[in-house]
Amino acid sequence: MNWDAFLFGASAALALIGALFAVALKNIFHNILGFALALVGVAGLFLTLGSDFLAIVLLLVYVGALGIAMVYAVMLSQPLDAPPRRRSAAKVTGAALLAAAVAGALWLVLRGARFPVRGGPLEVTPQWTGYRLLTDYVLAFELISVLLVVAMMGAVMVARRDRTQAGRERLARARAAEAGAAEAGEAP
């Protein structure tokens, strides 16, 4: 068994096991860890394809940024020790059947497909990717940066507490309660 095949097998197994953890476990925090594991596997697959730069970017963006943001969202929303509610078996079976049907259909397409073979994976260096991004594909590059800025500003605006009238009232009540607690603490 050569090194390439071993790396491919290990990465694919990591990706699939992580994906199963990410959707099948009950605890949302375990789901996030499984998601990170799956993305490490996908980054390994990118490495076997010779795309080192993409593998690093994938790790940074998905595992680093998105994983941490998900942990924050979970901490800000539901209590982790809340008991999970039961799911009706019919719905779970329906979801599994749908996924299996899509998998079967895609497999039928994939089985008959023939691709012209290249000798081996191309070495795609970061220099080469950067050069392409700033020459041939500069429009896509700029659009992505604009999209990211807009999304970031939108995210900040949406999550602001004083965005709605009810939110402003809640915020004022919370601040008043805090001030009251501080005074009560100082008085004795």
Binding site: A12, A22, V23, L49, Y62, A95, V124, A140, A151
Partner: protein
């Protein structure tokens, strides 16, 4: 040399696991995780096809970078929406978000 079909089968399985999670889960964060898994499987598909077949592999790299950027933007907006929804409804379970139902 691993064949292209092996990569495509791994991407197919990842996509369908993500689809199952998206349909089956009820927590919004869990649904977002499943959606991001599906996006990652698509970028794996694009990179595998363009670097093992055809002649131009530059397109695959650029498309994958764009996909990762879109996924990051989508995740940021979605997570901030979840925080806002949690604040309004005190839950991020989709079955409790039925305000628009007649």
């Amino acid at each position: 040399m691993t064949s292209l079909h092996a990569y495509l089968v791994v991407a197919l399985l990842l996509f369908c696991i993500g689809l199952y999670g998206l349909v089956q889960r009820r927590s919004l964060v869990a649904m977002l995780i499943a959606l991001e898994l599906m996006l990652a499987s698509v970028s794996l598909n694009v990179v595998a096809i363009t670097s093992l077949s055809g002649t131009a592999s530059s397109v695959g790299q650029v498309v994958a970078i764009i996909l990762i950027g879109v996924a990051a933007a989508e995740g940021a907006v979605a997570l901030s929406l979840f925080v806002a929804i949690q604040r309004e409804v005190q839950s991020i379970n989709v079955e409790n978000l039925s305000e628009l139902k007649g």
